[in-house]
Amino acid sequence: MRLVAPETVTFTQSGFCPGCGHGLAVRLIAEVMEEMELSEKLLAVVDVACGSLNIDSWRFDTIMAAHGRPIATAVGVKKVRKENPVMAYIGDGAAYSIGMAETMHTAIRNDNVVAIVINNSLYGMTGGQCAPTSLPGQITTSTPKGKDPKKAGMPFRVEQAFTGFDIAYLARGSMADAKGMVQSKKYIKKAFEKHMRGEGFCLVELLSPCPTNLNMTPVKSVERIKNEMIPFFPLGEFKDKKEEE
């Protein structure tokens, strides 16, 4: 069992906080790309957020989209580069709040792109404000008394909203432990395989720790994913078009 992180992500050091989930997600993507021999071809589109720090710390050709619109940009890139795998690498803020219209219309049209959504239940780069995915009672910088579901609504669950659309793949994995990492990698690989076969829109959400903005130690923030986030955001595959046909 040889386990060495791909050179596409280890050639330099990242600027992420200690314990940041982006490092984990990026390694999973790089491993999948290496296994599928697509590292040279992948076109990544990143958002204006913590995830954009990857521009310097991965070797994939990368476009930085307008804030919240990486999926729309990825759809455009795919239309002119049909041979290449195209991935939008975004956070929950870009996918479900700022860029909700773009995500929704990509799902309606079933455009052939992969969206990797990092769900840390808040806005990371701007300082930990309340997001649509924040849990009830969660203390953030914009909800100092805890998120009130009567005012702000319950956490947005992508499987409830998007399974009705005719999309190719929808899954949610956790990055809280080794088992979750292995499972998440399988979801990402399946999404890229479907993408390369041209089946349509593939969205994989990954539950991620954000120790800095949750004001927790890194270990407590992964325990929080297991104890608090997974009961709200169940893991698994929710839409797998081919199996249904």
Partner: protein, 70 residues
């Protein structure tokens, strides 16, 4: 799984940010904080080779690619 073909866990302390995921996740409690401080100012980790079974858990949970199993 398990020790085979002289595989070992190699660490690269320069990359370590001291998050402690590996210490928390290691099923054999073979990883601990060392006194060594790297250039970024983080206390790095050390692997006890006698306790280690080379299961790969540390590699999978590390967000900064400190571990290599080869």
């Amino acid at each position: 799984m398990g020790k085979e073909k002289n595989e070992k866990v190699y660490t690269n302390p320069v990359r370590c940010k001291g998050c402690g995921y590996c210490i928390h996740a290691c099923p054999k409690e073979a990883i601990s904080v060392s006194d060594h401080v790297n250039a970024k100012g983080y206390n790095t980790i050390v692997v006890d080779a006698d306790k280690c079974t080379v299961c790969g858990t540390c590699y999978r949970v590390c967000p900064d690619y400190v571990f290599e199993i080869r």
